[in-house]
Symmetry: C2
Subunit: 360 residues, 2 copies
């Protein structure tokens, strides 16, 4: 073990040697100093009364950004993909019919997670970069009477926003539940869980909330909770089982698992910033940044350009992170995110100037 | 929305109003200022070369504390219970026989997670507060030829340590895999994954590593990886699927999910502190603290004493957190943890003096 230890000691530079970056990729977005300071507040216990009060406030703050009064609104102890999995495995039982709208990576991931939960999955596909076709969704719902219909609000892989309003009526008419992926949209554009009749939604903290990644806000309507209460089988994941978790986030405060305390501090501060700015002003700010650079989020790389080399130059020479393409767009596109703290005119000017210089 | 917003604004005190606590419960343990400072380092992208280099160092640091050369050693993006679930759902397929040693809450949780993964579960039980009986384990292994045998190294619910050395021979003789829960033991007492022949182990960051909760270190032996590669069915959890995750932690660096960047900064610093102190010195420090207070971790509350009221007094009057009993011990015991940064003579003196005063 001694030679091992020696090798090891020679190669561990401190975390502080990681250079600062302007995060204009598909996430994480830039995290404000106030949120980082909250993250570093001394850790207390997950059953400490002061921490439980903070959890109540986080829940209130999440209800505010989701525009819902759903009692079952909380932050799952994992990143956005854990929230996706939590929603699916809690609401789907083996053999259930699940309809998924797919026009990018994350719709495809939803379908895969539902299949692993034992669902009979039908997809309604649209080309990458296009929105889902409402008539095609309506026809598929009428034909398959799905237990769950799941769509992505804002596809991080393409930058396309699917329209959610009006969809719930079609889903509820066949007694289904509407699930919406709000990972990239939450706190950056209007998300109206109650007004739209959405039954379950999940998000991530590292997009328009401008908080580090590590938690997944989720919300479940009373109809979704009733479905959960009627399950014939146990939720396959113990860690994500909301029938157990609701005792910790609810009145009983029963221990389930040790919550990621400091991450919840950070989310609390991020939600306080959202509250101070106000959602309408925040949505306008995001919209204004996007209008200054209308080809966002996905930009086709010019023919003959090595897109990865340009991204690496942006990072090394300018300290700016932007994203590469995923799936069908791999090697062909960039993804520039102007989310949360990064949705400013200065971010747009900076990334445009850097791209121009890198391509010159 | 306006009245809702008003109500909301009146009740959100800052995170900084959470009082400092001396965390001497069953976890989280006290987090050193250096680790909190690392946690607050500015967030960069999860595919940033500087961050990927840090992940390599985290992996090296985890191999060091696990005493293993296992290539598949990483931190799962969830708390310790997510690590437990990750190990089980990756190594168990529906219909597999799983044998679990149960002498506390966490052995029971292992059995439950394995059942949800579709396993035929047999348990070998011991009374709470006693160690597992090796002969009983050997007989059950011989009888059931389990695909997986899972035991808890140090039962957080009772403070009992089960002996692991020698167990692998019995398990491997029937071609099984040995899984060990190292949540409370890792970096506080010797854990010898390779020397003991353990095939998979998981831990948490908030115990003897003295890092905030939110990540779960895991390690898999080449035998365990071979089992994973031979699976006939997909891993039921997409989020915890190591066949996908190993591409992100491995050479390909393929995007799977957005890692909890800042939590990994903190774990990196916590592992650097472990390296500086040295594992042998760290184990001695933990042992010395425990020997000064030999009734640790679980203490029976004196008859007639309201154990919850005493815990509340410790918290409110002394700023000290200790834990209550779980399961069979609920309402009857306290759990005092002297882990990581908290395993010091000063912690022992402080908690003993406070308990004496609270009980007077």
């Amino acid at each position: 073990m001694s030679s091992w230890a020696r090798v090891y000691i020679t190669r561990m530079p401190p975390v502080s040697s990681i250079p600062p970056r302007l995060c204009l990729g598909p996430g994480p977005s830039p995290v404000p100093p106030r949120v980082l300071a909250a993250l570093a507040h001394p850790t207390v216990g997950h059953l400490d009364p002061a921490f439980l009060a903070l959890m109540d406030e986080v829940r209130d703050g999440l209800r505010h950004v989701f525009a819902t009064t759903n009692p079952m609104t909380l932050a799952m102890s994992g990143t956005g993909s854990a929230g996706m999995e939590a929603v699916i495995v809690n609401l789907v039982e083996p053999g259930d019919r699940v309809l998924v709208g797919v026009n990018g990576v994350f719709g495809g991931r939803l379908a895969e997670v539902a299949r692993r939960a034992g669902a009979e999955v039908t997809t309604v596909d649209a080309p990458w970069g296009r929105t889902l076709d409402r008539d095609a969704l309506a026809a598929a719902i009428a034909r398959t009477a799905p237990h769950v219909v799941a769509v992505v609000h804002a596809e991080t892989s393409t930058g396309v926003a699917n329209d959610i309003a009006g969809l719930a009526d079609l889903v509820h008419a066949r007694d289904g539940l509407l699930v919406v992926d709000c990972v990239t949209s939450l706190a950056g554009m209007p998300v109206e869980i109650d007004a739209w009749g959405v039954d379950a939604a999940y998000s991530g903290t590292q997009k328009c909330l401008s908080c580090p990644p590590g938690l997944s806000p989720v919300t479940f309507s009373p109809r979704a909770v009733a479905r959960l209460d009627r399950r014939r089988t146990k939720v396959p994941s113990w860690y994500l089982d909301l029938t157990l978790l609701k005792s910790y986030w609810g009145l009983e405060r029963a221990y389930h698992h040790t919550a990621p305390i400091n991450m919840l501090y950070a989310l609390h501060e991020a939600l306080a910033i959202v509250r101070e700015e106000g959602l309408p002003a925040r949505f306008l700010r995001h919209r204004a940044a996007h209008e200054r650079l209308p080809m966002l989020n996905a930009i086709a790389a010019p023919a003959g350009v090595d897109e990865a080399a340009i991204r690496r130059r942006l990072l090394d020479d300018f300290g700016i992170e932007i994203g590469g393409g995923l799936g069908d767009f791999k090697g062909k596109a960039w993804r520039i995110g102007l989310m949360g703290h990064g949705a400013t005119p200065a971010s747009v000017d900076t990334v445009v100037a850097a791209l121009r210089a890198a391509l010159a």
